[in-house]
């Protein structure tokens, strides 16, 4: 039986409650929140951060932090875009995803090598590679907004369904890229839940030395993890430009902060060892609603960042407070038992 006390210690219910309250508030003030087109719009802008957040969450669960994924995604998609344009490729979009994922794998492998094998601090390493990759993109490839090859443009026009808002006369299309997000979520769920590799990620984050002594291949797991993040970033890059139907090299830069915030907000413990996909997606949803819908209740977009900052601080503060409270309660019960 699940007791109430058990539920209240997790963060997912709080985030869900915040989402519900916020949407009811926006609905009450504007009457536009629960309209079909607004919900589809939200889902649409959720795809890219949600794809990023899956990899980001796994890294944080392992006790690390990665700020290079937007740079990897941008460089991978830009190079892929240029290769396909130069070769006049007109076939299937799968090749674009494959090339971009491969490039992402290479870039992630560099992170993995530096972090897993040389045991360098993750934040500093990924800050460095992030600067390296964006520099390469703007320097060596002198990147600027460019066209996309027909394969990607066609992929961007694949629409699952269209939602219309009868009162405002607005329509919104649900892009097919949401299927990629669903597939990635299922894959990540199975990986984290049912494979030794996935359990290893949690084990490393809980206590690296203990995990090593228990027989986990810590280096191998970290290598895999950062490669996985790289592949995911490569795929996300193509998903992004296909939805925009042009390749803007700077469109994803700077997203790392909000994605990390969303992941932590969703209950992933920053020191590692704890975190769930459900919480992560809820966190991303909350951040997306904050940045998309505040304008519906008359808060100017200039103030959006204040809310993001406040949400990060309050969210992480609550999580940190819960951890300490649990520890204290445990210590007390131990004392009582003795």
């Amino acid at each position: 039986m699940i007791s109430l006390g058990r539920i209240s210690k997790r963060s997912e219910p709080y985030v869900l409650a915040a989402i519900i309250l916020l949407s009811l508030l926006i609905q009450a003030r504007s009457g536009q929140f629960f309209s079909g087109n607004n919900l589809v719009d939200l889902a649409r802008s959720l795809i890219v951060p949600a794809l990023f957040s899956v990899g980001c969450m796994m890294v944080i669960v392992s006790g690390g932090i990665d700020v290079s994924f937007p740079a990897i995604a941008s460089l991978a998609m830009y190079v892929t875009d240029k290769i396909l344009l130069a070769s006049n490729y007109s076939g299937n979009v799968i090749l674009a995803y494959a090339i971009s994922a491969g490039l992402g794998l290479l870039m992630g492998a560099l992170n993995g090598f530096l972090i897993g094998f040389l045991r360098l601090p993750t934040l500093v390493v990924t800050l460095g590679t992030s600067s390296l990759y964006t520099g390469l993109m703007f320097g060596a490839f002198s990147a600027s907004a460019s066209d996309v090859p027909p394969a990607i443009a066609r992929h961007g026009k694949e629409i699952l369904f269209t939602a219309t808002n009868p009162t405002m006369g607005l329509t919104s299309n649900m892009p097919s890229q949401i299927l990629i997000l669903i597939a990635v979520l299922i894959l990540a769920f199975l990986l984290l839940r049912y494979t030794m590799l996935g359990r290893g990620i949690y084990a490393i984050g809980g206590d690296e030395t203990a995990a090593e002594r228990a027989g986990f291949n810590v280096r191998g797991i970290k290598m895999f993890l950062y490669c996985f993040v790289g592949v995911l970033a490569g795929i996300t890059g193509i998903a992004r430009i296909s939805m925009m139907t042009y390749a803007d090299p700077s469109t994803m830069l700077g997203m790392e902060m909000t994605v990390i915030a969303a992941v932590v907000l969703g209950g992933t413990r920053v020191t590692g060892g704890m975190g769930s996909l459900t919480g992560t997606i809820l966190g991303v949803a909350l951040m997306t609603i904050l940045s998309n819908s505040l304008i519906l209740i008359g808060i100017p977009t200039y103030w959006t960042r204040v809310f993001t900052g406040a949400v990060i601080i309050i969210g992480t503060g609550v999580t940190a407070h819960q951890t300490i409270a649990t520890r204290r309660r445990r210590a007390q019960s131990q004392k009582a038992a003795a």
Binding site: L114, L127, G128
Partner: protein, 346 residues
Amino acid sequence: MTTTKTAATVRGVRSARDPNLLRLLVMLVFVFVLMTVLRPNQFATIASFNSMMRQFPEYGIMSIGISLAMITGGIDLGVVGTANLSAIVAAKFLIGTVPRGAPPAQVVPYLIIAVLLSLSVGLACGTIAGTLISRFNIPAILATLGTQQLFTGIAIGITNGRPQSGLPLLYSRIGNTEFFRFVPLSFMIFFIVAVSVGIMLSRTRFGTFMYMMGTNPRAARYAGLNNTSIILRTYMISGLLSSVAGLIMMARANSAKADYGAPYTLQCVLIAVLGGIDPNGGFGTIGGVTMAILILQFLSSGLNMFNNISNFYRDVIWGGVLILVLVFNKLLSWREERRAVRKSMN
């Protein structure tokens, strides 16, 4: 008696195991000679030194702030946000209060108030970050990520994202004063900051406490240190330094804006690590950080003198240098460890 003794030992150990300073000096001389040889008529000239001295104080002072946070085992990603917010508050005050065309003598009191206002905003920002980290136990990286968003957000919100210009002329005239027609005021401020923070770290109890806490917070607490107050004070100093940097930026640009100096955060972390500050806390000196600042300034000013090299290669070089330095330091420490093990086995 015992405290002074431990402090002295800690200090002795620190300087003895700092071959990093020598390495940095070699690197500094190498970059300097390289640039002088490659661009003899441009690099080693009075004009180029003067322009370098105008450029680095703003991010140099922020790097010192980040370094302090890193010595205590944390990090301060909010320095740029703090700098911009405090500059904007000062700018808004000046634009709103100083009457148009007022004589300089009448403007001076406003300038003093504006500077004090900006410094107290910086101090308040630092206090917020420090409180979140020390009292609410939020990991420094997230707390300051949050404050960076919050401060930048407030700065955007109160200005609608527009630059605040139209400052009284006197401000930029004072801010851009040059002593002996060569040494800018901003450089003097940087010099004073670096020396006084250096003295604080190496000669005061508080400095020693910072290193002790950064090495092992639990041991420090059991040794009777008040970690909460050390963390709080560290971030307050970092906030104060950021507002000083903000005032310098405001003088150079003659305006204040919410997104000035956005790439400085990464650059400052890079400088701190390059300068030998251990990202896990407990090690590093201001001397090292200062040399790292100079190395980067020489590199970037030198590269600017090559017309065919894109500015963006600077990012590549910075990222590359950061990773190489990390790898090099790691290999070196592994070798030292191995040597120590061998010695203990003999």
